[in-house]
Amino acid sequence: MGNSSKRLLKSRKVAILALISTAAMAFGYTAPAHAASKVVTISFSQWWEPELPAGALKGIISTFESQNPGIKVTLVSGPYSATKSQTIAGAATGTMSDVVGLDGAWVSDLAKQGALANLDNAFTRAKFPTSQLAAKIKISNTTYMVPVVNYIYPLFTNDDLLKKAGITSAPTNRSEFAAAAKAVSATGTAKGWVIPLSQTNPNGIQNDIMSLVWASGGSMLKGGKPNLTGNAAVKSVITFVKGMWDAGSITPGAFTLSEPDKVTEFTNGRAGMMIDSLSHITQIKTAQPNLNFSIHALPVADGYAGKGGIPYASWGIGVAKSSKHPLEAAKLLSYLMSTSVNTKLADLGHAFPGNTLSVPTWVNTDPMFKTAFNIYQSGYPANEFTGLPKAEDLMLKFDTPFQSYLSGSISADAMLAAAQKDWLADF
C-alpha cells in the first residue's frame, strides 16, 4: 500500500469516526443496562423543595428510598413558574417526570392532553386506602390530582402600621377594610393594601380579588360555566377594589407586581395589609423577625353573616401517563400521602394535610398558626379556578380588562362583559 493510499484510508477512517461520533451525540447513546442492577430510578418534579426548610424534602425522600431499596428518586426542583413551564413542555414531548407536583390550575389541560395517569388505578396498584384522602381533583370522573397539602390565604395585617394609623382591630368587613387601608395610606409611610396584578403570573386575580368574592359566599361560575356579567357578587368586589384604587389606598405599581413582590412589600413594612398564603409566614419571620403582624379571616361584604369560602392553594401531585415505572411512581405517591409522612410535610410547610387522618402538630406551636386553624375551620375551602380549563389564562383574561377598569378606561360592566366573552372562548 502506497503512502497516498495509506493517507486516504486514514482520512477516511477519521471521517467515518466523526460521522459515528456525531450520530451518537445526536441520537444519544444509551449504555446497556447492567443485568444485575434492579434499581429503578424515577423522577419527581415539584416546586416544593425550595419552599421547604433546606434538606427537608430530600430527607423525606431518603427515608422512602431506604424503605424501598429498589427505587431511587431524582428530585427535579425549581421555582413554581419554572416547574409549570417544565411540566407543560414535558407533557408535550412525553418527557414529564414520573411523579409531578401539580397546581389545580394545570390539571384540566394536562388531563385533556392525556399526560396524566388515572390516580385511582395508581392507588389501587399501591394498595393505598383512598378513603384517607381529603380531596381528589377529578376531570370527567377520573382522578388526576390529589392535594398533598393545602395552604389557606388569610388576611395579613401589619399591626404596627395599623396602630400608627389609629386602627385598633383587624377589619372584618369591606367598609372597615377600606377605612383601615385609607388610614394607613394617610400616614404617608406605607400604603394600605398591596395587590399583585402582574400578567407574568396573574394568580393575584385568584388569590387577592376573587378570594373576596368567595369569602362572602359568592361565586364566579354558574353550573360550572363563567358567570361574570350581571353577577352582583363579582361586581361588588371589583367596584370595591376600584374605590380603594381611586382613594390611593393600594400600593402603586400593582399592574406589574407579582406575588413575591407583594410579600416583599408587606415584609418591608411598605404595605399595611395583604391577602397571602400561610406558607409565607416562615419567610416573613425570617426576613423581618421584628415585624409585628397577625393573620385574620378575609373581610366580607358589609352585613354578610353566612359561612365564607377560604381561598386555598394546593401542593398537588400526579403521575405521568408516560411513566415507564407506574408501580414505583404509585409507591412514592402513596408514601407521600401516608398519615405520618403527610403529617410531617404539613408540619414542615405549616399547611393543612391532604390525608384526613393526619393531625398537624404545627397548629399548636404558635398562636398565629392556631388562628389559621380556626380560620380554616370557620369556613370552607374555596378555589373555583381549580380544575377549570386554561385556568391561568382565565386569570389573565380577567386581569387585562380589570387593569383597564382600574385605569378608568372602561366601566365595571364593560370589564365584566369583556372577561365573560374571553372566558367563554376557553370553555
Binding site: 450520530a23 451525540m25 407543560i88 396584578l197 400578567q199 405599581g253 399592574f255 386554561k390
Partner: protein
C-alpha cells in the same frame, strides 16, 4: 444483462469525492437535528389544529395564520414591537456612535480611556435578569429615578414608569437601549480606529470643519458596519422577550405586549401551541427577510 466491474480508479474517484461530505457530515447532522428538524416541526405545527393538546391534529391550511393576523392582541404586539425596535435601534446607533467617538478622542489619556471603556461596556456584561431587577428598582414608584426627579422639583409624586400604560413602552425601550448600546459602541470604535488618519489630515488641510469631516469621512467609512449592525439589531430587538417579560410581562393592559410575549402566552398560558407556532413562523419569516438583506450587504462589502 451483464454487470461490469468498476475500475479501481473510478472507485477511488467516487471515494475521493465522498470524503469531504463525510468530514462535513457531523456539522450537517447537527444542523439537521438542532435547526432543520425543530424549525420544520414549528412550521408544520402552524398548519395543524392545536397540536400537542390535540392527540390527532388535522391540517387546517392557513386558518391559524388568519386567526393570528386578525387577533387584535397580535396587532397590538406587532405595533409595539415596531416602535420598541425602531426606538431601540435608532438610539443604539446614536448613543453607540457618540460614545465610540468620545472614546476615540485624542484628548483622552490611555488610563482614562480604559476606565471609560470599562464603565460604558458594563450594561453589555450584565445578564438579562440582573438588568431587569436593576431597572425595576430604579423605575419603582418609590425608586431612585422618582426620588431624584422629586428632589429636583421636576415631578411632585412618583411616576409608575413600568406600571402605567402611558409610560411602560417607553420605559422598556429605554431599558433595552441601555442594555444594548455597548455592542454598537465597541464595534463602531473598532471601525473608527481603522479609518486612516491621512483622510482627516487631508480634510484639515483643505479647511474642513469637524462636522464636515464627520459626515464626509467618518460616516461613509463606517457605513458598512452601521448597515450590518442595524440589520442584526433589528433582528435581535424584534425577538426580545426575556427583558420585557421580567419587567412588565407584556402589561399593563397590553401596553408592552410584544410578538415574543404573545407567542409565549399562546404556548404556555393558553396551551395554543399551533397559534404560538404560527406567531413564531411569522417572526421567523420577518427575520429571514432581514437575514437575506444582511447577507446581501455582507456580499456587497466583500
Amino acid at each position: 444483462m451483464s454487470l461490469t466491474a468498476r475500475k479501481p480508479s473510478e472507485e477511488k474517484s467516487i471515494r475521493t469525492r465522498l470524503e469531504p461530505y463525510l468530514f462535513l457530515s457531523p456539522t450537517f447532522l447537527l444542523l439537521v437535528v438542532l435547526m432543520v428538524v425543530p424549525v420544520g416541526l414549528v412550521i408544520q405545527y402552524s398548519f395543524l389544529d392545536n397540536v400537542i393538546m390535540n392527540q390527532f391534529p388535522k391540517f387546517v391550511g392557513l386558518h391559524n395564520y388568519l386567526t393570528v393576523i386578525k387577533d387584535p392582541i397580535f396587532q397590538i404586539a406587532l405595533k409595539n414591537t415596531f416602535w420598541f425596535t425602531a426606538g431601540s435601534v435608532l438610539a443604539h446607533l446614536i448613543i453607540g456612535l457618540g460614545f465610540a467617538i468620545l472614546l476615540n478622542s485624542p484628548h483622552l489619556g490611555k488610563i482614562s480611556r480604559s476606565i471609560f471603556r470599562m464603565i460604558y461596556i458594563l450594561p453589555w456584561i450584565f445578564t438579562v435578569a440582573i438588568i431587569a431587577i436593576l431597572w425595576r428598582m430604579i423605575l419603582d414608584p418609590v425608586g431612585v429615578l422618582n426620588y431624584a426627579l422629586i428632589k429636583l422639583g421636576l415631578i411632585h409624586t412618583g411616576v409608575q414608569w413600568l406600571s402605567s400604560p402611558k409610560t411602560a413602552l417607553l420605559a422598556v425601550t429605554v431599558i433595552n437601549i441601555w442594555a444594548g448600546y455597548p455592542f454598537y459602541m465597541m464595534s463602531l470604535l473598532a471601525g473608527i480606529q481603522g479609518i486612516s488618519k491621512d483622510l482627516y489630515e487631508a480634510a484639515r488641510v483643505d479647511g474642513a470643519s469637524w462636522r464636515q469631516a464627520f459626515f464626509n469621512i467618518t460616516v461613509p467609512q463606517l457605513k458598512p458596519i452601521i448597515l450590518s449592525m442595524t440589520v442584526l439589531d433589528i433582528i435581535w430587538t424584534s425577538q426580545q422577550f426575556a427583558m420585557v417579560w421580567m419587567t412588565t410581562g407584556g402589561g399593563p393592559i397590553t401596553s408592552t405586549q410584544m410578538i415574543g410575549i404573545y407567542t409565549y402566552q399562546q404556548a404556555f398560558g393558553r396551551y395554543e401551541f399551533s397559534l404560538a407556532s404560527t406567531s413564531a413562523v411569522l417572526l421567523l419569516v420577518a427575520s429571514m427577510v432581514l437575514s437575506i438583506i444582511y447577507g446581501r450587504l455582507q456580499n456587497r462589502q466583500d
